[in-house]
């Protein structure tokens, strides 16, 4: 699903945000990417969504070489990826339901299928009863569940989460982790970037550790 081959990104020479990073993730895996702040976790995720392009090396996602992909193909490639952010990025003036359905509308889903999918993902994260509320009326954990529902709505093959529990207390963090495990169990590849040690311990999945832009360790599930 994901293949990094000596991917390097240099913003301002000689400082590299990522340096010679190589690893592969299969479609059936759930992987945690960790490391201290500034180690390159978010940069790595941005390369997978092709917001950033390596200055050397290769990044292949779902069979597409992102260093050679045509500009017009990028939206199509991104439709196979769902992204969850630390700050949720819910649209404040839209209802919970609309936060999800507007993404499907933008992707030209037919109305009936859109409504059905929105209802289903809201039920799945346990917040169908809040469909007509505004995001600000929800707790942090609930808002993150909505953000996950939105990322899952277009049925992506790969889910990326950038510090998804950074704004949550430990109990809510474990609930969110449980959701990710369930998403993985249902057949979606999950890549989770976090520096939360407790979460990593509990996840019991493969862990990639970045340090100063280099892949320092690649540990199998314990």
């Amino acid at each position: 699903m994901i293949h990094f081959d000596q991917a390097t990104l240099i913003y301002r020479p000689p400082h590299a945000a990522l340096k010679d990073v190589s690893f592969s993730v299969t479609a059936s895996e759930m992987v945690v990417v960790t490391g201290p702040s500034g180690a390159g976790k978010s940069t790595l995720l941005s390369m997978i969504t092709r917001e950033l392009v390596p200055t050397s090396g290769r990044v292949v996602v779902a069979g597409r070489d992102l260093t050679a992909i045509r500009r017009a193909e990028i939206p199509l490639m991104r439709r196979s990826i769902g992204v969850v952010f630390q700050d949720f990025r819910l649209l404040r003036h839209r209802t919970i339901e609309d936060n999800i359905s507007f993404v499907l509308r933008a992707l030209a889903w037919p109305a009936a299928r859109r409504r059905e999918r929105t209802r289903r993902v809201l039920e799945w994260v346990g917040l169908a009863h809040r469909a007509n509320d505004l995001p600000e009326t929800l707790s942090g954990g609930e808002q993150q569940r909505i953000a996950i529902a939105r990322a899952l709505a277009p049925e992506p093959r790969l889910l990326l989460a950038d510090e998804p529990t950074g704004n949550l207390d430990p109990e809510r963090s474990f609930e969110i982790l449980a959701l990710f495990r369930e998403i993985h169990a249902r057949g979606t590849c999950v890549l989770l970037a976090t520096h939360d040690r407790m979460l990593i311990e509990r996840a019991k999945v493969r862990v990639l550790t970045l340090q100063a832009g280099r892949l320092a360790r690649d540990e199998a599930p314990r």
Binding site: L76, V83, A106
Partner: protein, 301 residues
């Protein structure tokens, strides 16, 4: 519905929604565009009227060659033949002093019998030359030819003042078109500002659409459609206002002392196809202004 019509419907829906968020700014853009197009359409119509009127008057203009008292008939014949030979002449007519007096009486019946008043006929005989076409150089050559002839006393040519009027009309048209162009630029800047405000409002939304892989049509389309809608609405309003103003000017002119002139100047209006072309121009210009504004905000697609 297949994906394309759904995408198009979504683009229009989002554009309308964006406009709804800032109705006053949108109205301002429409008004600015309407004034600019009103000026363009009005001056187009007026310039057609001026050209038509000028052409009609120019067609009727004649060179009047007044003959010296007691000019030899042979010399007058020679002058008439020389003018006919010079070419570019539709007709050369001899006007006797008696006919000139009769024409004057017909034009000004209130002035009574001028012959009795002055103790004789004050009008000289003349040659009335009607040039063919409106080539100023050819007409000037005819005038010079007549002036140089010994039988001619003086030469009067009506088109001098018409040409001065035409030059004045041309200068006014250029001035008005420059004003319309400035207003058009202001309208486009206003549309650009409306689009930039809309983009600032939905910065997060656009970022999200990009990350979920929404097609560029959905991300950039509403911006262009917003600009096109504002431009087309403004242009259409301008065309309608110009048409209404022309009809009012034309309709009320019969009561005015300058009725003939007013009717002649406002006789030609925009055809539906021309009005539609201006509305289309407004739409394209509006979309271009929006695209430029989006480009300056760093997301041209």
């Amino acid at each position: 519905m297949t994906a394309w019509p759904r995408t198009a419907a979504e683009v229009v829906r989002v554009a309308a929604s964006d406009l709804g968020r800032r109705p006053l700014a949108g109205l301002l853009s429409v008004a600015a565009m309407a004034v600019a197009i009103f000026l363009v359409a009005s001056f187009w119509s007026l310039s057609h009227g001026v050209r038509g009127t000028w052409a009609r008057l120019a067609e009727q203009a004649v060179i009047e060659i007044y003959l010296k008292d007691g000019a030899d008939a042979g010399a007058v014949d020679a002058l008439a033949e020389a003018i006919e030979r010079a070419g570019g002449v539709r007709r050369v007519e001899r006007v006797s002093p008696e006919r000139a007096l009769a024409e004057f009486r017909a034009l000004y019946p209130d002035l009574g019998d001028l012959r009795d008043l002055l103790g004789g006929n004050p009008f000289p005989g003349s040659l009335r030359v009607q040039p063919e076409g409106a080539d100023p150089a050819r007409v000037a050559a005819l005038v010079e030819l007549a002036k140089a002839n010994s039988a001619a006393d003086s030469v009067r040519y009506d088109r001098d003042w018409l040409e001065a009027l035409s030059r004045l009309g041309g200068a006014l048209s250029r001035f008005a078109l420059a004003g319309a162009a400035a207003l058009l630029l202001a309208a486009l800047v206003t549309i650009g500002s409306v689009v930039r405000l809309a983009l600032d409002d939905k910065r997060e939304e656009v970022a999200l659409l990009r990350i979920v892989g929404a097609p560029n049509a959905v991300v950039v389309g509403p911006v262009l459609v917003t600009g096109a809608m504002l431009g087309a609405a403004g242009a259409l309003a301008g065309v309608l206002a110009a048409s209404l103003a022309r009809q009012v000017a034309y309709g009320t002119s019969s009561a005015s002392p300058l009725a003939g002139l007013s009717e002649a100047l406002f006789a030609v209006g925009l055809s539906p196809a021309e009005g539609l072309a201006l509305a289309l121009f407004g739409a394209v210009a509006g979309a271009a202004a929006a695209a430029a504004a989006a480009g300056r905000r760093g997301w041209s697609g």
